[in-house]
């Protein structure tokens, strides 16, 4: 009688023995019904476990990324591929042992079967296998991940980032004077600046406020129509390439954006695109006109490069300007 231990039988049943070792085990199993039944039982247990693990995976929620493959990962496919490759290229770590059951068994083991229980031997590396044919490519199309929903906390944090000390400490005395508002904002922006007059579109200037972005002054000029949502013009100081007027939506808000040499503009309002465009063109025209008038009068335009960076005091003097009494 020959006894093969479970570890060897499991490795055999799993197909993880080298070819010659598998053949040697098969020869033993042909003679030893008990061992053969044991292998069958182990294989059955193995198969039941595979089914069980698949069932566990089937109960899992589908991940947030959909692919052409309905199951999350091809564990089965990996298995067979890995085994084939593993057998082909890996060193064989599993020796196997058997105990001879005595002369009565009358079975003579080949010399590659070790006389004791499992011994780990490192056999010389098998010759390099022929290159495998290139497998068919598996194409997995992964759509872009949906953007996480924007929470009110996100919005609040963003608006907080725009505030600075200057936003609150200045300019209350100038609230009734739109010219002074323009002067103060212009000084902070280090550019000629007049509050655009949008009264022709029934928009009333309400407030000018100085915010900041990455330390650069950002003017916020708010208008209110007779009814409906406000329209707000943002002006950011800083050298930039001129950019033509463009309308689009940012996070669902209709905006018109354009740039001059030293100022970037964004006009935001819940308005139809053509109306927003018309307002932006009006602002551009008024600025051009103001620049022309200044040129004709011989007033040298403020150059950010020539002017010293505004002192904190100067910058802060133009901050919050409340609604003037008269309409623009």
């Amino acid at each position: 009688m020959t006894e093969l231990n479970d570890e060897l039988l499991v490795a055999y049943a799993d197909g993880q023995l080298a070819k010659d070792q598998s053949k040697a085990v098969e020869r033993v199993l042909e003679e030893d019904q008990v061992a053969a039944q044991r292998v069958e039982a182990l294989r059955a247990a193995n198969a039941h476990l595979e089914t069980q693990f698949e069932a566990m995976l089937a109960g899992e929620p589908v991940p947030g990324v959909s692919t052409d493959i309905s199951t999350p990962a091809p564990a089965k496919g990996q298995r067979s591929v890995r085994r084939v490759l593993g057998r082909a290229v890996l060193f064989i770590w599993v020796g196997f042992g058997c105990l001879l059951g005595g002369a009565a068994a009358g079975y003579i083991l080949h010399d590659q079967i070790l006389p004791k229980e499992i011994q780990i031997v490192q056999l010389p590396a098998p010759p390099a296998p022929p290159p495998l044919p290139a497998p068919d490519p598996i194409i997995i199309r992964i759509p872009p991940l949906p953007a996480p929903p924007v929470t009110w906390q996100d919005d609040a944090a963003r608006s907080y980032a725009l505030l600075s000390r200057e936003t609150f400490t200045l300019g209350l005395d100038a609230s009734s004077n739109p010219d002074l508002v323009a002067f103060q904002l212009g000084k902070a922006l280090r550019a000629d600046f007049a509050i655009p007059d949008l009264s022709a579109a029934n928009l009333t200037f309400e407030r000018g406020q100085l915010l900041q972005r990455d330390g650069a002054p950002l003017a916020q000029i708010s208008y209110l129509p007779e009814t409906g949502a406000p329209v707000v013009l943002f002006v950011l100081a800083g050298k930039a390439k001129a950019l033509a007027l463009e309308e689009k939506k940012i996070e669902g808000v209709p905006v018109a954006i354009w740039r001059e040499e030293n100022l970037s503009f964004l006009l935001a309002g819940d308005l139809p695109q053509e109306k927003l465009h018309a307002l932006a063109v009006t602002i551009q025209a008024q600025r051009l006109l103001a620049q022309q008038v200044a040129k004709d009068a011989g007033v040298k335009e403020t150059s950010p490069a020539a002017e010293k960076p505004s002192e904190p005091e100067a910058a802060t003097s133009a901050s919050t300007v409340e609604k003037p009494n008269q309409q623009n």
């Binding site: 476990l49 693990f53 995976l57 899992e60 990962a73 564990a75």
Partner: protein
């Protein structure tokens, strides 16, 4: 987009795709629902935070499974008495409404987590003994030993194997009758 951001996005996508398999491994290792959730959460957090770097050229699943196992060991070490955790919850391992599956789940729950994880990696995930050894930070010989002991536990309860085989034969027989009937 920077290379770091691209790499981060790629890892995130791979992690999402792999998450059902990782969660199954987490259930098998932890053996209780709460512990498995914490294990999964901490592992994903570590991976996304870049607490350990994904080595180039390594299979992502192999690395991620190894990370989850390391995290489990960490949690086990921080537990006051790891041996007091008791038997695993079999409902974590069973397919609903299948009595045969319930029986297998019961046996799985009685196995030590090392044996459960070894059989999952080899039979559920299809990793070779060597790969399973890398994930479990042990030798392939130990993996074989754990797998064979786990299978022996199943074989010892041969009654369920026989009943499963009988019920399967019965189902196949009924299928055959149905096919013949049209």
């Amino acid at each position: 987009m920077t290379a770091t951001k691209r790499s981060g996005a790629s890892i995130r996508t791979k992690l999402i795709t792999l998450s059902p398999r990782l969660r199954r491994f987490s259930n098998i290792l932890s053996g209780d629902r709460e512990g498995a959730q914490a294990l999964m959460r901490d592992t994903c957090q570590n991976i996304l935070d870049g607490a350990s770097t994904f080595p180039e050229g390594m299979a992502f699943d192999l690395w991620a499974f190894g990370e989850l196992h390391s995290q489990w060991l960490e949690q086990l070490r921080s537990h006051i008495n790891p041996l007091s955790k008791g038997q695993a919850d079999p409902s974590l391992f069973e397919a609903q409404g299948d009595t045969h599956s319930t029986r297998i789940a019961d046996i799985l729950a009685k196995l030590p987590p090392q044996q459960r994880s070894a059989v999952l990696l080899v039979y559920g995930e299809g990793f070779s003994y060597d790969e399973a050894g890398r994930i479990l930070d042990t030798t392939s010989q130990n993996v074989i030993a754990r797998v064979s002991r786990a299978l022996a536990s199943f074989v010892e309860r041969a009654d369920w194997l026989e009943s499963a085989a009988a019920s399967r034969a019965e189902v196949e027989h009924l299928d055959q009758i149905n096919r013949q009937a049209g």
